[in-house]
């Protein structure tokens, strides 16, 4: 399975973010979207990938970019994790069918039953403009995302 490449239209999806709310990719049409696929909530570090992106909200806001996390964890797990880590990033549950959205994006790890650690930057027209799969043990940071957002912003001038 390989991750979807730039130039491809990002598959739309609708996933629960809380027990009574769903988030669809199409609702963000018109603004850049950053999808952060990650293996699981509760990784044992205070400064993991999501904490980092949580810290960089003002940087992402400069591009009016929406950033969302996606894992196969369920909504209750996401709620507890989000509260514990004080996350402002919506976490989406690719829970049922398990990993269905991750599969559509080519980032489901069959052997583990978890998502890859993968990033997608999608433009306002819904097209993937940049994607990156990190080795699952390495946190890819934010520099690639910001570079992609910047080049997209320049392209629109």
């Amino acid at each position: 399975m390989t991750a979807l490449k730039p130039g491809i239209k990002a598959p739309d999806f609708s996933l629960a973010t809380t027990p009574d709310q769903k988030v669809s990719l199409s609702e963000f049409r018109g603004q850049p979207v950053v999808l952060v696929f990650y293996p699981a909530d509760w990784s044992p570090v205070c400064s993991d990938q999501l904490a980092l992106y949580n810290e960089l909200q003002s940087e992402f806001a400069e591009f009016a970019a929406e950033i969302v996390g996606i894992s196969v964890d369920g909504v209750w797990c996401h709620l507890a994790f989000s509260k514990d880590r004080k996350l402002h990033i919506p976490l989406l549950a690719d829970f049922e069918p398990k990993g269905a959205v991750a599969r559509q994006y080519g980032v489901y790890r069959e052997q583990d039953g978890e998502c890859e650690r993968a990033l997608f930057v999608i433009d306002g027209a819904g097209v993937i403009r940049w994607s990156y799969v990190s080795p699952v043990g390495i946190n890819p940071g934010a520099d690639g995302i910001l570079k992609a957002l910047e080049s997209m912003a320049r392209g629109w001038q």
């Binding site: 400064s47 810290e55 880590r85 890819p140």
Partner: protein, 180 residues
């Protein structure tokens, strides 16, 4: 990122550095004074400094995770403001050595301990004298691919290995062996 992340702002005279500028090894750490992992790696860095002596220049830059750690920013500001009074490393060491005691109330105690002018420190923080520097550290970190705290760069390349003495020593030794 494809491959490895590199430091976009090389170590220079602007930095808080220990060790010679011409050392063959430069270890840059982006850290957060309230982060337990940074606290845990603090003695490791000291051991590395002992082991490599003049061959190692160590640079510390701020990357406070303000959303996760409510006291990280005030701690960074305190260290930088102490630096304006010539005692950055003393405050840096105190913050990590006594990390368990870190809270805003402790700052006057630490300042007294180091013989700093507390009023001046407070004023400079309030007037934003150290804000630009911390922002510059943070921005350089973001651009360089900092992916949490601590993030280390060895001779400009982000270190993605385990933050223990053995692993870091191996890498530093192989950097030395590889250099002309």
């Amino acid at each position: 990122m494809e491959g490895y992340a590199r430091l976009t702002l090389p170590a220079s005279a602007r930095d808080h550095a220990q060790g010679p500028a011409e050392a063959p090894l430069t270890l840059v750490e982006y850290g957060d004074y309230q982060c337990p992992y940074c606290g845990a790696v603090y003695p490791v860095v000291q051991r590395l400094q002992k082991a490599f002596g003049k061959k190692l220049r160590f640079v510390f830059r701020n990357f406070p995770l303000t959303q996760s750690h409510p006291y990280a920013l005030i701690a960074a500001e305190t260290a930088e403001a102490a630096g304006l009074q010539g005692k950055f490393w003393e405050m840096h060491d105190l913050l990590f050595e006594r990390q368990a005691a870190l809270k805003p109330d402790i700052i006057p105690t630490w300042c007294e301990k180091l013989g700093l002018d507390l009023e001046k420190l407070g004023q400079e923080i309030a007037q934003g004298a150290v804000e630009g520097r911390i922002q510059q550290d943070r921005q350089s970190g973001i651009r360089s691919g900092v992916n949490g705290t601590p993030t280390f760069f060895v001779n400009g390349a982000r270190y993605d290995g385990a933050p223990d003495f053995g692993s870091l020593t191996s890498l530093l030794e192989s950097e030395l062996a590889g250099s002309p």
